[in-house]
Amino acid sequence: MGGQVTAVSAQPPKVLVAVRSRQERLALRILLPTFLTVVVVATIPFVLAVIESLTREAEGFVGLDNYVRALSNPSLYESLRQTAIYALVVVPAEVLLGLGLALLVHRTIRSAAVKATIYVLAIIPIAIPQVAAGVVFRLIYAPEYGILNVILEQLGLIDQQILWLSVPALAIFSVASVDIWQWTPFVYLVLFAGLQTVPQEAVEAAQVDGASSWAQFRHIELPYIRPLILLVLFFRIADVLRVFDHVFILTGGGPGTTTQFVSLYLYRIAFKFSDLAQASALAVMFMIAMTLFYTVITRFMPLERD
């Protein structure tokens, strides 16, 4: 509205300026108190974490000692490494599977009713609380009662139980499978929605020219969905780096420390060893790392910020 006025004449009539600035003042009068309160409330934990990370209950101010202790704990690096492995298994698997399914459905399913059904079915895993997802896979992987071993035995594929959750080499993949099961549908939904925006004429023209289906993907569909692939990577990486719930249910970080990802490690330091000072130092570093990650990556996001 204000924009239109300035577009007509460079010097808008005084009355309109008054009206406009009154509205601007109203906007700030509603926005500022609410927004500032919320920002302050949300920032208090961070400030407190910084203070706590520089002190210790008995000694008071200890400088960077808690950071030194946190960084010299070898378990930290182990947990970072396991988190990286987890992310490297889970994120590519989800993106490739989700992309594959999106292309498959996009190219073969014509009926709108079937597409709508698939949409609803794909929402189901997303709606499941992660704690419940952990429970679901406890029933699949558990020793004795887990159904996977029973099925594999009946098919004659194994003759001895596989301890999916307690063999160190297997546990991280069993836990990763739950993530893939739950979040591939999300990737599918985002990328499928992107494929729907590819103009049909471009695809038809390519097919008339005899383009292979790889060429069709590479040169026509991929440019349309590239920003969405970035978006999906952003959301999935951010979620995977702070994974907690279903791992807590399935392995609690074990066996040993093979599934003790960053969040579980912080939980252990803070609430199992009750070392809140060291945990605060870790929390501050974790928040700073996530903020950096966030700042770098959001520049590439196709989000409407207006």
Partner: protein, 280 residues
């Protein structure tokens, strides 16, 4: 031509069906286990189909183990913090979508909200734990309500902003020209028009509140304030797992957000992707 194309089409359909089976078998098995009798749990081998289906496990988990109290806590915390998050989101989105604000103000508000979405709960809960214990809110519902409200603001703000931006400014301006006050125009014109959006955002926010686990695990200790997911986790980490009860609890934990998300299905993806995806 046509026959050549039919075979790959059948193959892809078979592949999709296979994927669907793999995806839904675990959920089927969860429901099947929740319907088993106690006696069936001790059979030599777990069965795929409950031999004597019963709802007994639901009764014993809700009333025998008093998970009904946790269910109540979850609903109270969810409802209160959903309403709070929506009210605050309205106070933030109304000026940035309906009133003249600078581009910088708008984008800094939205960026801030987005950055909050990517905070790790565990990093926040460590200082929050100290605050809550100091002010005497440990193991109290208000502590959860406060933290859930803040953590759900990003989603609420981005969803509301999307919905409000779709309502033409002229609708309110017409009312203002007719002599209505800003508040009246908001109350009688904008609010009714944004009803569906508010409802959709509310449903999705509630579903997230319902599923939240880390804060509830750390900030509560007894059934007085524990939420349903904490109760579910308690059934798992016990020395001996009662499979049918654990499954029944998980089915309840899933059923509520699932129903809500299916009701609000057209807006779920919009919410999860912060407005990038708009379905239908």
């Amino acid at each position: 031509m046509r026959r050549q194309r039919r075979l790959p089409r059948l193959l892809t359909l078979a592949a999709l069906l296979g994927v669907a089976v793999v995806f839904f078998f675990p959920l089927y098995y969860l429901v099947a286990t929740s319907l088993k009798t106690k006696a069936e749990l001790f059979a030599s081998e777990p069965t795929l189909v409950p031999q004597d289906p019963t709802l007994a496990a639901y009764g014993s988990v809700l009333f025998g183990r008093n998970m009904i109290t946790l269910l109540g806590n979850s609903i109270i915390v969810g409802l209160v913090s959903t309403v709070l998050a929506l009210v605050i989101a309205f106070a933030i989105c109304y000026p940035i979508t309906r009133l003249p604000t600078s581009r910088r103000t708008r984008s800094s508000v939205l960026n801030w909200a987005l950055s909050l979405r990517f905070l790790a709960p565990i990093a926040v809960v460590i200082p929050y734990f100290t605050i809550v214990r100091t002010i005497g809110l440990y193991n109290q519902l208000p502590a959860l309500i406060l933290v859930y409200t803040i953590f759900n603001l990003p989603l609420s703000i981005w969803m509301l902003k999307g919905f409000l931006a779709e309502i033409p400014l002229e609708t309110e301006e017409a009312a203002l020209v007719d002599g209505a006050s800003r508040w009246q125009a908001f109350r009688h014109v904008l609010l009714p028009l944004s009803r569906i959006g508010v409802l959709a955002a509310g449903i999705i926010v509630f579903a997230f509140d319902w599923a939240e686990f880390q804060f509830a695990l750390i900030l509560t200790a007894t059934p007085q304030a524990q939420t349903f997911p904490v109760g579910v986790a308690g059934l798992v980490t016990q020395f001996e797992i009662i499979w049918n009860e654990m499954s029944a609890a998980a089915v309840i934990a899933i059923a509520i957000p699932l129903m809500l998300m299916i009701i609000a299905r057209r807006h779920v993806m919009t919410g999860l992707t912060f407005g990038v995806i708009r379905e239908k």
